[in-house]
């Protein structure tokens, strides 16, 4: 029982911004708005919102590995692609009956996790760290993109699923929940919205608990000073590897959901731009905090899309400018900076009132 209570107490802690009744009331209000939102919107807009949500998982994976763990990785995009292609290959071969799409979701994420375990083992136990970690993971991502781009020929297929080179794969079935009578097909509107929203809230809360646990303590300790962490008896490389694999699971979830959402995936989703954008969302939001990452990612994505109307090249330039401004004004992230400022303001007001 006490174990149960202390488990949920970890929803708050030094590693996550936001605590107390004020924060959780706000959280409840946001949840109610999020749940009610499809009732006041049209299917297309809801589907577009799902698209934003889909990317939050990969952003959270970077938050975990980079913001909390201190290792800058471009590999998240590779795991995104592996899981996305995995979902395509599995569902194009085995279809969507009997809830198989959900099996494919789990299996594709597991494949991404397996690759991460392999790559992570060689990197962390080979003592690759710092900027070299960034270089190796970027190389792996770009190699995967190159590789997938040259699979146009008919000889490139897995089972009945053609890889299709640069054009990518398409027409895989959306996520489908088996149901007595008629299975529920989660097309990219209200159905998928609630599914992804539920998943997102679950992942967000689970990560809050994880980061405020003793495991999270060790992760930030490694970021602050790996030598000291080792000198407290922690097997630093093992912790780094586990974090890397959890990150790959999150990135893989993005990949599967993205593929299921649009029913397509192409090699460019593992390209240079695709690898750079999540970094910008997370840096602008505030990489060392989960809430800042979620809010920052959604805001920046929405702004990016709004700007794309004027041309995607301008939107990309805007992203660059935003990143530079963040680094100059609030190196820890604009959203995180604002939240901390609001927190201090609130503290001052209550102090004055008390």
């Amino acid at each position: 029982m006490t174990g149960f209570v202390s488990f949920f107490r970890r929803l708050e802690g030094p590693q996550t911004v936001g605590r107390g009744p004020a924060f959780w009331s706000l959280f409840a209000v946001v949840m109610m708005i999020a749940v009610a939102y499809p009732l006041f919107s049209d299917g297309y807009t809801v589907g577009n919102t799902v698209y934003f949500f889909v990317w939050v998982f990969i952003a959270l994976s970077l938050c975990l590995i980079w913001g909390y763990g201190g290792s800058l990785s471009f590999g998240q995009t590779a795991f995104f692609g592996i899981a996305g292609y995995g979902y395509g290959v599995l569902t194009l071969n085995f279809g969507s009956a009997y809830g198989f799409t959900l099996v494919a979701l789990v299996a594709s994420v597991a494949i991404a996790a397996f690759f991460a375990a392999l790559l992570g083992y060689f990197m962390f136990f080979g003592r690759i760290a710092g900027v070299f970690l960034g270089i190796v993971t970027l190389a792996v991502t770009l190699m995967l993109e190159r590789f997938m781009a040259q699979t146009a020929g008919p000889e490139w297929h897995i089972g009945s699923a053609r890889l299709n080179g640069f054009n990518g794969m398409s027409a895989m079935p959306p996520l489908t929940i088996p149901w007595p009578g008629e299975p529920i097909v989660l097309f990219a509107d209200v159905g998928l919205y609630y599914f992804v929203l539920g998943l997102l809230v679950f992942v967000y809360l689970a990560l809050r608990i994880l980061m405020n646990s003793s495991f999270g303590n060790v992760i930030v300790a490694i970021r602050e000073n790996p030598e000291r962490a080792e000198m407290l008896g922690y097997d630093v490389r093992k912790y780094q590897l586990i974090t890397f694999v959890i990150g790959a699971v999150l990135a893989g979830m993005s990949g599967v959901l993205y593929t299921a959402w649009g029913q397509y995936i192409t090699p460019s989703s593992m390209g240079m731009t695709a690898a750079a954008l999540p970094l910008i969302w997370v840096a602008v939001g505030g990489r060392s905090d989960l809430t800042s990452t979620v809010v920052g990612t959604l805001v920046v994505l929405a702004a990016f899309q709004a700007l794309t109307i004027y041309g995607s090249q301008y939107a990309l330039v805007f992203m660059g400018v935003l990143l530079v401004l963040t680094v100059l004004i609030a190196p820890n992230g604009l959203v995180l900076g604002t939240m901390n400022w609001l927190g201090r303001l609130a503290a001052r007001i209550t102090q004055r009132a008390g």
Binding site: P14, S214, A221, E224, E227, R228, M231, G233
Partner: protein, 238 residues
């Protein structure tokens, strides 16, 4: 019984022979000071003991076990602990969190909180607990790191210049703390330049010079040794 035994430890950095066939034996329960001029290889010897560096040849035995091939974290779990020369606290985290990370593998829940509170008082850092460790004074950082090191309840505590940057009073307090820990059964090996500290705590002193064990004995024997005085003077003239 000897707790730590170094056998013919050799370490090269390129052409530099940093430790040269170092033999050193530590008895369980003693406070042993390691002194020597700058660059003698003292800190390197610590890293060899801890597994941060690996020797070119030679062995490290701890509590009768040959630990030469063990990784650093595994040695720590066997009962070693260290405070480095340059304070290695978690700068971006609060003082309290620093101690929590050190203590969490042996305590949980309310017991953990109580243990942190106890240690904060012991270190004189209770009013700084919410502060970011990076904002502490140099001396306070040293204390915090010593606190983290002793919270592992090691059987052998390694201290690399624990009193650097401390006032004479603080140095004396650190000496008393070391003696208290020793009275509770902790064996201590301390590198120190401050001779007042060495005189206060050392039961035995080893002088390291140019990577070699140069002299060994009680503090009085070492101070009386003209050869030892000469290497320090030689350095002062250099």
């Amino acid at each position: 019984m000897s707790l730590l035994e170094l056998r013919k430890l050799n370490k090269h950095f390129g052409g530099l022979h940093v430790t040269n066939a170092v033999d050193l034996t530590l008895e369980a329960g003693e406070i042993h000071c390691l002194i020597g001029p700058n660059g003698a290889g003292k800190s390197t010897l610590f890293r060899l003991i801890l597994g941060e560096h690996h020797p070119g040849s030679g062995d490290v035995l701890f509590a009768g076990e040959n630990i030469t091939a063990l990784k650093a974290f595994a040695r720590i779990r066997r009962g070693l602990s260290v405070k480095f020369q340059v304070p290695g606290v978690f700068k971006g985290l609060s003082v309290r969190q620093n101690l929590e990370i050190a203590l969490q593998s042996r305590h949980r829940g309310r017991e953990l909180e109580a243990e942190i509170d106890r240690l904060l008082v012991f270190l004189g850092l209770a009013s700084e607990q919410a502060q970011t460790a990076g904002n502490l004074s140099h001396g306070q950082k040293q204390w915090l790191e010593i606190g983290m090191a002793i919270s592992l309840k090691p059987s052998l505590l390694l201290l690399d210049e624990p009193t650097a940057g401390m006032s004479p009073e603080e140095t004396h307090m650190t000496g008393e703390m070391v003696q208290r820990l020793n009275a509770d059964g902790m064996t201590v090996l301390a590198i120190e330049h401050d001779m007042a500290f060495v005189r206060q705590v050392a039961q035995r002193v080893t002088v390291l010079h140019l990577g070699q064990v140069f002299a060994q004995g009680s503090i009085d024997e070492i101070v009386a040794d003209e050869r030892v005085a000469a290497i320090y003077l030689g350095q002062a003239h250099a």
